[in-house]
């Protein structure tokens, strides 16, 4: 019988996660611990449940059994603290096509913590979107739209990043910029849960979680 007390040091812990969808077992008895400054890469074939797992960790999906802990405390009972420190980038990046990058980010960033316009503009410049801050997002390429959502990573105080295929549509410069962001975040003590087909190169050991094995 596994012990019910999670190790207190870990930033994010999962115990006995079990999920079924459409009568198919996605994963069962899933445990992991993610400490500060660590990266967890979730691997698995298409349809193995990677996106579902990430959404479960964020609390967007509640079709599961098991427990998730944030610094030893049950996430279900301390959601506000957890959400204040969480940043999620999903498949649909949350960018409204009619608004400009600046208008989009003004809303998205202020939902989590007060953020000044200067900070947002600097983040957009760092991601090579200078000059595009005020044009409607439907004028941007797919890679540029992805970079708009990456700007949230630069600006947010979140300590845990949950990223679902963040490298898609990025060109080599975008890929390099994102890897640099990941490295900076990790050396500052932040953690990352990520799914990607890209070969990650970060300056820390990567934990692997392979859903095809469960």
């Amino acid at each position: 019988m596994p012990s019910d007390s999670p190790p207190p040091a870990a930033m994010l812990s999962a115990r006995q996660l079990h999920c079924e969808r459409d009568d198919r077992l996605l994963f069962q008895e899933l445990d992991f611990d993610l400490g500060e400054g660590q990266v967890l890469q979730v691997k698995g074939s298409n349809g193995s449940g990677k996106t579902t797992l990430l959404r479960i960790l964020c609390g967007l999906n509640d079709n599961f059994t098991g427990n998730i802990y944030w610094f030893g405390q049950a996430v279900a009972r301390h959601r506000d603290e957890f959400l204040a420190s969480l940043l999620y980038l999903g498949h649909r990046v949350g960018v409204n096509m009619v608004l400009s990058p600046l208008e989009n980010l003004r809303w998205a960033c202020n939902l989590q913590a007060p953020t000044s316009d200067e900070k947002i503009v600097r983040a957009l410049e760092k991601l090579d979107l200078r000059g595009f801050e005020d044009s409607p997002c439907h004028n941007l390429s797919a890679g540029q739209k992805q970079r708009v959502s990456l700007a949230r990573l630069l600006v947010s105080p979140a300590r845990l990043w949950v990223l679902d295929e963040p490298f898609t549509t990025l060109d080599i410069y975008g890929v390099a910029a994102l890897e640099e962001l990941l490295a900076e975040h990790v050396s500052a003590g932040g953690s990352v849960v990520v799914t990607t087909h890209h070969a990650l190169s970060v300056n820390t050991d990567i934990q692997y979680l392979n859903l095809d094995d469960s």
């Binding site: 964020c58 409204n96 608004l99 208008e103 202020n110 939902l111 105080p157």
Partner: protein, 231 residues
């Protein structure tokens, strides 16, 4: 560790969401004219289709106005969550540490300002086209002013429940229209009383009570429905 001031933060989330939604509505103003045009065209069909006789029109005027306002409101509700659901902004809302109630309330307020208030402003013109007697105008405007936000609030529950379904059309109407019947009845009763020369304070007060109930409960119900839809 940041210190949380929940009430202050909830308010700023409300303001930021309200500003954003109004901005999106402003940039999409062509889309927003559609329900208003619908309201105008359908109402103006009644004198043509039924009778231009003033007495006959006056009898049905307020019922026609209210039903058309209800249908126009139904048409415009799609804007509330659909595009946010499709581009992923809805998930951002759900992942905010602040109470979802405030952000949902901001979205509904923005929807009412953009879709409901123009209906109220257009109603005197349409009342004139339908030969509504002069003494009924204040009651008509008052009942629409109280009733349109209730329709937005109730409609938000229906839209939140159905946002993840592919083809919603009839389901949305089936959920929202029955809930809207009390509002419809109260609104038409109020104006009917005014046409008979009776005081309408009581009826408007009942609508005010409905509005208060809707403001407190509808955003909570919508928030719960949104969490289910995003699952």
């Amino acid at each position: 560790m940041t210190v949380n001031h929940p009430r202050a933060d909830g308010f700023s989330a409300f303001v930021v969401t309200l500003k954003r939604d109004l901005l999106v509505a402003f940039k999409r103003r062509n889309d927003l004219l559609n329900p208003l045009m619908f309201f105008f065209i359908v109402v103006s069909l009644f004198p043509l289709g039924i009778s231009p006789e003033r007495e006959e029109l006056a009898e049905i005027a307020i019922g026609v106005l209210w039903v058309c306002a209800l249908l126009a409101s139904l048409l415009s509700l799609d804007n509330l969550y659909r595009s946010d659901y499709e581009d992923g902004s809805l998930e951002l809302l759900l992942l905010s540490p602040h109470a979802l109630y405030f952000m949902v309330l901001a979205k509904i307020l923005s929807h009412w300002l953009v879709s409901g208030v123009p209906l109220v402003l257009l109603s005197p013109l349409l009342g004139y086209m339908l030969a509504l007697p002069a003494e009924a105008y204040p009651a008509m405007i008052g009942s629409l002013l109280l009733g349109t936000p209730i329709l937005s609030l109730l409609g938000s529950i229906g839209v939140a429940l159905t946002v993840s379904l592919g083809s919603r059309g009839l389901i949305l109407a089936m959920i929202i229209l029955p809930m809207s019947v009390p509002v419809l009845i109260a609104g038409t009763l109020a104006v009917g009383q005014a046409m008979d020369g009776n005081p309408v304070g009581g009826h408007l007060a009942i609508m005010g009570a409905m509005l208060a109930l809707a403001i407190s409960m509808a955003p909570l119900a919508s928030a719960a429905a949104l969490r289910i839809s995003v699952n």
